[in-house]
Symmetry: C2
Subunit: 358 residues, 2 copies
C-alpha cells in the first residue's frame, strides 16, 4: 500500500518536472499550486527521519522550498521508501528522481576515487573537508567525477569525526587487532582486514544484537549523537576513540543534471546555496549533539571512553596510507583527485598543529 | 567628492526601502529595475576589499542578490566610505543603512557580553562557535542582546583561530610578558595588561611601521592569510602561536529590524540563509588560505614559527577566565549569556579531547 502511494507520487513529480516551468502543463490531478511550481523528489540512503543525517536531508529539502518561496517543493524519501539505499545514485542519475542525499563512499564500487569526497581513513577533518571542497578545488573535481553519470554533487552535511567504535575486547597492541570480528564497512574495514582482523558487514539496525549476542567483538557506527540513540552502551564495555576510519565525513546532495538545468538561474543558486547551508548546519548540529551525548554516555551510563594506543593508530595509519593511495590510481582523473587531496592534507596538517594547539 | 556620492546613494536607498515592496513608489530617479527592487546598503568595519573579511561581506551581499533574483540588491561600503568602522553598529541601529558587517566585540563598550558572540580569550573554536550559536541557544541570546538596538545579528563569517602574533622578543616565561609593548586590542589586550604587559591600540595599517621602528615589541593581527599580505614577516623575527586571544572569531552580519520586517517572508529567509552560507564560506576560505600562507611564510620567507610556552599559556588562561567571567556579570541577560557559553564550553572541551586526538 505504502509502496504504491510512493510510486504514484514519484510518477506525478516526474511529469511535472518534465514540463519545465514555462510550459502549459496539465497533470490531470487536482493541484492548487501556481502553474510554475516544480515538484522534486529526493531519495536518501538514510532510514526515514534518521537523526542528524535523515533530518539533515529534510532540512535541505525544506530550505529549498522556503528560499524559492514554494516555487520548488522537495519531497524526501527514506531508504527503501522509493528506492533502496544503495540505488540512490542510480535513481538520481537516471532522472527517476531529481535529488538524492547520501555519502559518496557508497559509490566507490563504481568509482574508487569517490571515497575522497566523503571520508578516507586518516584523512581530512570536517573543517578541512570544507576548505578543500569549497576553496581548494575539491568540489570541481567531484563534479567532474560525477558528470558522466548525469549528476551534480554538492556537500550536504558533515558528521564531524566519528568514534573508533564499541568494543567488548580491549585493544592494547596491534596483536589485538588480529582475528578481531568487527562491524566496520568501507575502507576502514579493508584496513582492519589488512591488519589481520575480520571486518563484517552488518546493517545499522542489527549491530546491537550482534554485539549483545557476542557474534562480533566490536562495531563502529557514527559518534555519540547517533550511538547513544541506538543504545550500544548496553551491549559493549568500551567506547574507543578516535574515529581514524572517518575523521570528518562529508555527506552529499545529488542533483540530476537535466532537472537542474531546467531551473531558472536564481533557482539554481537557491538549490546550491541550500546544500551549502545544510552542509554547515549539520556539522553545527553534530558538534552540539555529540558534546551532550558524550556527557550522557559517561555521566549517566558510566561508559568507559578509551583512546586507541598510539602504536595501534600508527600501524593502522601506515596501512591506510597505502590503501588510500590505491583509491586514487584507477585513471587520470582519479590521480588528479588523489594528488589534490594529498596536497591539501599536507598543508592542512601543518596548520592543524598550530590551530589545535590551544 | 567620493563621500558626497556615497551619501547620495545611501539617501536613495533609504527612500526606496521605506516604500516597501507593495507600494507605488516613485523615487524621482531614473531606475530601470522592476518596481519591487529593494536597494539596501551594507556598511562594514573592514577596509574596502580587505581579504577574507571585506570580501566575505561582498560575498554575502552578492549572494542575497542572486538568491532573491535581484529583488534585493545590497551595496557594500568599506570602513570610512559611508561611516567610520566603529559607527557601523549605530548606522544600522538607526536605520541609516539596512545592513552591517563587523564583529560583535567591537561593541563591548555598549554591552560587555557582546564579546561572547565574536571571540573571547581561551574560548570556543570556530566549529564550536557554530555549534553554540546555531544549535546551542547562542544565536537566540545574541538576538535578545541586540533587540533593544533595533538590530538582528547573524553569524556572517569566521577567521578560524588566529595567531598569537609577531614578536621581536622571545617569550620564554611569564616574566617576559612584563613590560612587553604589544599591539593587541580588546580582551586580549586587557589580559596582557593584567599579566604586566603594555597593550597598545594601533590601527592595522600602522602595525608594520610600529614593529619595524621598534616602537612596539610585538603585534597580533589575524592569522597567516592576512598577515602574509601585510608583510609583517619583514618586520618581526618570530611568529608565535596559538592565538589564545581569539580562538575562533565569528564575524557578524547586522540587519536593521524594520528593514527586515518589511521584507516578505521568503526574502527574510533569503537574507538569513545568505548570512549562514557566508559564515561557512569564510571559514572554508581561511582554512584553505591559512594553510597555503603558512607554507609560504615558512618555506619562502624563512619565518620562525614558535609555540608559546605552556607555562605562559596557563598563566594567560587563568587571567582570562576571570576577565571573561567579568564580561558576563553586567545584568541578568549577561549572566545567562555567560552561563550558556560556559556550559557549552565545558561539554565541548570533553568532545574536543576526543575529536582532536587523531
Amino acid at each position: 500500500m505504502k509502496r504504491r502511494n510512493f510510486i504514484a507520487a514519484a510518477g506525478a513529480a516526474t511529469v511535472l518536472t518534465a514540463c519545465g516551468q514555462q510550459q502549459d502543463c496539465a497533470t490531470g490531478e487536482a493541484n492548487n499550486k501556481p502553474q510554475e511550481t516544480i515538484e522534486w523528489n529526493m531519495v536518501t540512503t538514510w532510514p526515514p527521519g534518521f537523526q542528524g543525517l535523515g533530518t539533515g536531508a529534510e532540512y535541505l529539502a525544506a530550505l529549498i522550498g522556503k528560499l524559492s518561496n514554494g516555487r520548488i517543493t522537495v519531497k524526501v524519501f527514506g531508504a527503501g521508501e522509493l528506492v533502496p539505499a544503495l540505488q540512490v545514485f542510480d535513481a538520481v542519475s537516471s532522472g527517476t528522481v531529481q535529488m538524492g542525499h547520501g555519502a559518496s563512499y557508497y559509490w566507490k564500487g563504481k568509482m574508487p576515487a569517490a571515497s575522497f569526497f566523503s571520508s578516507v581513513p586518516f584523512g581530512l577533518n570536517a573543517q578541512e573537508m570544507n576548505g578543500w571542497l569549497l576553496k581548494g578545488g575539491g568540489l570541481e573535481l567531484w563534479q567532474e567525477l560525477y558528470a558522466p553519470f548525469n549528476l551534480i554533487p554538492m556537500p550536504g552535511g558533515n558528521t564531524d569525526i566519528q568514534m573508533a567504535g564499541w568494543f567488548n575486547k580491549e585493544i592494547n597492541s596491534v596483536d589485538d587487532l588480529k582475528g578481531l570480528k568487527m562491524r566496520i564497512p568501507g575502507l576502514g574495514g579493508e584496513v582492519l582486514k589488512r591488519a589481520g582482523g575480520n571486518p563484517e558487514l552488518i546493517a545499522g539496525g542489527e549491530i546491537f544484537s550482534a554485539l549483545e549476542m557476542g557474534r562480533i567483538d566490536a562495531a563502529e557506527f557514527v559518534g555519540p549523537y547517533n550511538d547513544l540513540a541506538f543504545g550500544f552502551y548496553k551491549a559493549a564495555k568500551y567506547y574507543y576513540y578516535p574515529g581514524w576510519q572517518e575523521p570528518g565525513t562529508t555527506l552529499e546532495a545529488l542533483i540530476n543534471k537535466q532537472a537542474f538545468e531546467q531551473l531558472p538561474a536564481d533557482l539554481q543558486d537557491v538549490v546550491k546555496t541550500a546544500c551549502l547551508t545544510a552542509n554547515a548546519d549539520m556539522l553545527a548540529e553534530f558538534t552540539e549533539k555529540n558534546n551532550e551525548a558524550l556527557r550522557i554516555l559517561v555521566e549517566e551510563h558510566g561508559v568507559q571512553v578509551k583512546k586507541l594506543p598510539q602504536e595501534v593508530l600508527d600501524h593502522l595509519e601506515s596501512i591506510s596510507e597505502k590503501l588510500v593511495e590505491e583509491q586514487g590510481q584507477a585513471n587520470e582523473l582519479s590521480k588528479r583527485i588523489y594528488a589534490s587531496y594529498l596536497d591539501f592534507k599536507k598543508k592542512a596538517n601543518a596548520w592543524k598543529q598550530i590551530s589545535q594547539s590551544l
